[in-house]
Structures are given as structure tokens and as C-alpha cells.
Symmetry: C2
Subunit: 247 residues, 2 copies
DNA sequence: TTTTCAGTTTCATTTGATGAAACCCTGTTA
DNA sequence: TAACAGGGTTTCATCAAATGAAACTGAAAA
């Protein structure tokens, strides 16, 4: 054994099988075997165990497997820590691995935004993001998201506030917000910090209220406008999935 | 091996551990070990595997385990068969085992109710309940539930219908419905069938609309009024949990 | 201080998980 | 029609890996 981790291999393999279903909801035995790099017979046995306990079920018609009612049952009984910073971390890590850029999560707090969670890219040149950092709500992609999709009273409070930067015209700001609303995501290039760019999207909960802003950020020479356009749909899809996890 | 089932013991044990959390959301290592009848060290290793994959997490303060975000994540991505008859079956089986009486699930269909799911008690004398049976909406505990908590238009349609039994005064029926609404559950003793009694409660989905009626039924000499009063809170709690599972 | 109790780690034992290969289907090609 | 292909299923010899007793740790209670 002696791998340092005191775990049970068979169990980890079974759990890996379950995790396959985050990508596609219906998988055949051999498809799963390929994904987890195990032999058919091994996967078959593990699936039999999962099926016996109701963690996966098989579609009689297609013989494909999908997640079982037990997952649903367990999740219904979960008193899930409703802290998005905890809930969304694994999704953010996945996104970071996919895009290989720093991923941040912001919420509004008064007339500022707070970075409540962040996972950094592994690249040598990367956006470094401190969790807990407080930033202004006037500049940056996430600011636009948090303001554009906010309740009207939040927007008004912000407009009334005195600390609006001198260079920023109210009308320009409003135009930016309108653009964000229409395209569904926001970008920023060297707005707040030299050499930095970002794309941000809103995360809505099941009740369709704004929960947070999810952003990918990196050096502006790597995170070009084209790259940002590419990333936007990925971010939006991730945000959609994350929205299901928070309330 | 030769037990007929081609399964992996370690995996089944790990899944049993997860199922412990349907009863209580926070459990210590030894509590779990007792529940699954395994040695501490075995449970510890299995939990380490589950924890490593995020299926359980431990509360730093209390050192107790609870279900992890992965469950939530998986369930969010599930395209769950929204058929209550399938979803709620395991909960119904659990309830049957707890109360040792027949459990039925009814939905309204027009001016009738349909038993869309049932699990029978194991006792020799028991309520036999055929799945798919259609019953009138005038008598029986589940009828009262399905009518009392229904949308107003359903109630009106029922009142207008001509096939109301002769012996049943409209005013009496209305009084019954009011009682059901006030106490939250309905009972019936030998209303529809001689020697049979039942308690029924409503199942509401997350949107607080009536989905089905959940009933426990048995011989009236065993399912006495006192027993029914005892069962009611159990049923209500079960229905509350079931409501989270359907939409 | 000692005791107790929960969690953790070690380790010898051997069970029981493993994967190659064979087998069984059902649908498809020759 | 037979041969083939491609999925799922079962068998089985092998030995890696899961097991549980016991020892260990550390913190809290007596």
C-alpha cells in the first residue's frame, strides 16, 4: 500500500465512477470503463454494488447507467452549508483546470465587492487573487455584473454615493451596464490593474436572484479579447450549474 | 465469494456509511461504526476515501462527519425522473418498515384519486393495496387530503359534480375538509372499506403545491385512533422530506 | 495527576478484489 | 444462412489490498 493515504482503492474507484456522471448523465458500461481506465469486469462489479444500493440505476431500454434516486434522497436531507465560497469551490477548481487562469468569486457588500473565494492558475504568470480582498464596485468586470444584475435599489444607492471616480461619467457607466445586461457577461481590460483582464458572469440561484459574480482573470496579453469571447460561454455554463447549488 | 451477488464489499460498506446520514446529518466516527457494525479502523479508512473525493466532509470543530458537496453537486446535475412513484418509493419503504403498515401514495386524476405507488406491511393481517387502483374522491383519508389542499377550482368542480354520494351532506363534507386543513392530516375509519382505517398527509413540493397524498392504512382494530395520532407526526415528517424530492 | 474515550496508525493475516479470458447475447455483415 | 462484431456478463487463478486487533496519541474528564 504505502502511498501515504490510508484509503480504500475499491471505494475510490466506485466514487470516481459516480463522478463520471457530472459530465454526461447517461453512460454505458464500456464508456465508464474507458473514462476511469479500468477493465469492464471491474467496472461491472463496482456498478453492481452502486446499483444494489440505489446510487446508480440503469435505463432498461438502453442498458445505460445514470445516477440513482439515492443521490437525490441524500441531497434532499443535506443541511448544506449555504456558503457559496464553500459550495462552489470544487466547481471553481474544475474551471481553473479547464481554462488555466485564476477564477474568482465576488459578492456585493455595501458599496464594495468582496472576493469570497478564489483559485489561482498554475501558470508562472498569473493573476494572484487574495481571498477576502475588498474592491470598488465601479471598475472591473465583476463590478459591472454585480451592479448590472443587482436590485434597482442597490443601483440607485451606488449612483447617489459620492465616491464615484471623477473620470467615470455616469452616462458611460450606465451604457456599460446596459451592454452587460444584453450580452450576459462583462469584460474588463486594464480597468483596475495594469496588464490585467477579466471576464465575469452572474450566478443566479434557483429563485433567480443574483448571488455572486464569477470571474476568470489573467494577464491581458494572454487573456485577449478573442480568448475572453471563447471563455464567456464556458463561464456562463459553469455559472448556470453553480446556480443550482446555492440558495 | 459465492454469495450469488457479484459485488464489491468495500464499496457496499462505504455506501452504507453514506446512507447513515439520512437519519442524522452529523455523525462521529464511532457513531457510524456502531450503525454499520464495523470496526473503527475500517470505518475510518472508508471515511477517508469518501472524504478524499468530497462525498463526506468533517466539521472541523466537532470532528463529526456529514455529507459533502459532491452529493449536492451530483444531484444538481441529475436529470431526475420527476415521477413521484419512483422517487418516493425508497422513502415509502422506509416508512413501511418503521410503522409496519401498508403505505400508499395517491394523486388526483379528474374526480378520482389514483394509487400511484404502494408498499405493503409484512404483517399477516394487512391492508392490501394494488398500485393503479382508482378510488372515489369523496371518502377515505387521502380523499380529504387531496380535496382539502387542492386548488379552489378543483374543489368547486367536485362540489358541482353530480355523483356525490347520497348519504354525504355537503355541509358535513365541508366541515371535514376544514378540520383536515386545521390539523394538517386526515383520518378515516371504516369509511370506504369495513375494518380498514387510514391516516393521510399532504406532500407539497418546493413550490408549495400539492403533489400527492401519503397514507398509512391497516386494520382498524390495530390502527386505532391513538395509533393514528402517534403515526401522524411521523407521516408529516416523512411527507416533508419527500416534498423536497419532487417538483 | 490518572483515567477515559475518541480518533489514528501499524501490521500480520488472508480474504476478497482483480483483470484476463471465456462466454453469452443480439444485431449486423458477408 | 453462417460468421462476425460489440456490447454485457461470468469464471477463475493470483496475490494485492482490505481487514480488524492491538497499539498509540492526544485531549478532556475525574
Amino acid at each position: 500500500m504505502e502511498d501515504g493515504k490510508l484509503t480504500v482503492r475499491a471505494v475510490e474507484r466506485a466514487l470516481d465512477i459516480m463522478l463520471c456522471f457530472t459530465d454526461s448523465s447517461n453512460l454505458s458500461l464500456t464508456e465508464i470503463a474507458v473514462r476511469v481506465s479500468l477493465h469492464k469486469s471491474t467496472v461491472h462489479r463496482l456498478l453492481a454494488s452502486l446499483e444494489g444500493k440505489g446510487f446508480v440505476v440503469r435505463d432498461f431500454a438502453t442498458d445505460k447507467y445514470r445516477l440513482g434516486f439515492r443521490i437525490w434522497e441524500l441531497s434532499a436531507n443535506m443541511t448544506h452549508s449555504d456558503d457559496p465560497a464553500i459550495i462552489l469551490l470544487p466547481e471553481m477548481e474544475r474551471l481553473r483546470d479547464q481554462l488555466d487562469e485564476t477564477i474568482s468569486l465576488y459578492v456585493c457588500d455595501g458599496l464594495e465587492r468582496v472576493r469570497i473565494q478564489a483559485v489561482e492558475s498554475n501558470q508562472a504568470i498569473r493573476r494572484v487573487a487574495a481571498i477576502g480582498a475588498r474592491l470598488p464596485l465601479y471598475v472591473g468586470a465583476s463590478s459591472k455584473i454585480l451592479v448590472a444584475f443587482a436590485e434597482p435599489q442597490v443601483q440607485e444607492a451606488l449612483m447617489k454615493a459620492k465616491n464615484m471616480p471623477v473620470g467615470l461619467e455616469r452616462s458611460v457607466f450606465l451604457k456599460q451596464l446596459a451592454d452587460v445586461l444584453s450580452q450576459g457577461y462583462a469584460t474588463s481590460v486594464e480597468e483596475r490593474e495594469l496588464g490585467a483582464a477579466a471576464v465575469a458572469v452572474p450566478i443566479f440561484n434557483q429563485a433567480h436572484t443574483l448571488v455572486a459574480s464569477l470571474a476568470v482573470s489573467g494577464p491581458s496579453n494572454r487573456l485577449t479579447l478573442e480568448k475572453m469571447k471563447e471563455h464567456a460561454p464556458v463561464l456562463l455554463e459553469a455559472a448556470r450549474r453553480m446556480g443550482k447549488m446555492v440558495r
